[in-house]
């Protein structure tokens, strides 16, 4: 595996080609292709029901596409999902938190399930990083949505994920929480991790992205470097491409 790490193909964390997903006759994704390298962040924008969550679930190997190909960290994720799952972590609408376990117990569970070291000091350090160390022994049932998201991110810290998929991570967070999450995601990228964030939050989403893509009608209608897009440009393009010409005008 270490030899492969040096090859350019391995640096490409996500390589999706012509992904299509239909439920009955209705296509949810209609030929989505994207590439993402290690240490890069992609923010996916798009109206509700355009397939953002479906795309994330396919990239996470939780859902099989109807057609298309997908390679994660160089391996064929459709033929060998088990081979790539150790490299993927996801923070979706649910936070994978067991309500009747404490923060520390939740981390211990997921660490052992993931085959990682579950030493008390390591778990405590992860809780410190997400600023939950003072409530380590409190049941998750008493946590706010933001605290549960932090707990989910502590789980990410303990794992060996190189691809992190986040679905609406900024929802329900206050300004301080958004700033903290933005810094967390930037540090994940700085460690060489690849990041895909599906969000409706333009500012926060673009802040952690190297590239911004807009998904509309099951297709990627725009994929550009974030540096090329000012806030006004992005909103205008979003209105034109995702909401239709009437909204744009």
């Amino acid at each position: 595996m270490r030899e492969r790490a040096a090859s350019p193909a391995f640096d490409l964390m996500v390589q999706a080609e012509h992904l299509r997903k239909t439920y009955g006759p209705t296509p949810v994704l209609d030929g989505v292709s994207l590439e993402l390298g290690a240490g890069q962040g992609l923010t996916l924008l798009g109206p509700n029901g355009t397939g953002k969550t479906t795309l994330l679930r396919i990239l996470a190997t939780l859902l099989r596409p109807t057609s298309g190909s997908l390679r994660i960290a160089g391996a064929d994720a459709l033929k060998e999902p088990e081979a790539v799952r150790g490299a993927i972590d996801m923070v979706g609408h649910g936070s994978w938190v067991y309500e009747d376990l404490s923060a520390m117990e939740n981390l211990r569970f997921w660490s052992i399930m993931g085959g990682h070291d579950a030493a008390q000091t390591r778990l405590h350090t992860a809780l410190e990083e997400v600023e939950l160390d003072t409530v380590a022994d409190q049941r998750a049932r008493t946590f706010s949505a933001g605290m549960k998201r932090r707990l989910a991110l502590a789980r990410v810290l303990l794992g060996r994920a190189r691809l992190l998929l986040l679905d609406e991570p900024f929802t329900g967070l206050d300004r301080a929480g958004r700033k903290w999450l933005g810094e967390f995601l930037m540090s994940f990228k700085a460690r060489g991790g690849a990041l895909i964030v599906a969000t409706h939050s333009f500012d926060a989403g673009v802040g952690v992205a190297d590239r911004v893509a807009i998904l509309a009608g099951g297709r990627i209608v725009l994929d550009r470097p974030a540096a090329e897009l000012g806030p006004d440009d992005l909103r205008r393009l979003y209105d034109e491409l995702a909401m239709g010409p009437e909204t744009a005008s």
Binding site: G94, V97, Y98, D100, F109, I112
Partner: protein, 222 residues
Amino acid sequence: MRRAWIVVWKDVLSERRSKESLNALVFFSILLLFVFQFALGPERARVEAALPGLLWLGFILSGLLAFGRTFLVERENDCWEGLVLTPGDKSAIYVGKLAGNVLLMAVVEAVLLVLFAVFFGLDFTGVLPGLSLVLALGTLGLASVGTLFGAITAQMRARELLLPVLLLPAVVPILLGSVSATQTVLLGQPLAEAAAWLKLLAAADVVYLVVGLLTFEFVLEG
């Protein structure tokens, strides 16, 4: 093994704190006993004749409630997705869930036996070793199928309806063997008299356990 153990630890700890399943099952057991008491009346001979069937009726009805809840906790906060994404052999999750169900069933069976003894004035102490063996074999078989079908139906809308419809026909060999072997034990006959039923139970346990281990990954993946 470590992953199976942590699943049991998590389920037992959650149940110890919430007591959701245990409270419901104990209350349900008491209700069942009241129904049996009214149905059979005070005549001891009728109670003793019906006892093996009543015991296992109580166990399986309680089991249906327990198995149905096993995987519902994994749907909360999308924990199910986390289990799918954990790398490695998924049968460890099945083994952990199965062990949790066997433990829960064992507690409910102990409570039901005590309640039967109190309600009907019965004494199980003389037959306890033989009865324990039959209960262990029967419970393992029931829980093996129940855990698997609990996982299958947890993803469906009509799960409360589907679980008994799927489970009850599948556990007919377990029920036949368990009720017959329990009858032999309660009549005070030597365990060797029930050897054929015990062999059927052991064979059914092995078959159901192997099927559960081999198919659980596909069930989890949906």
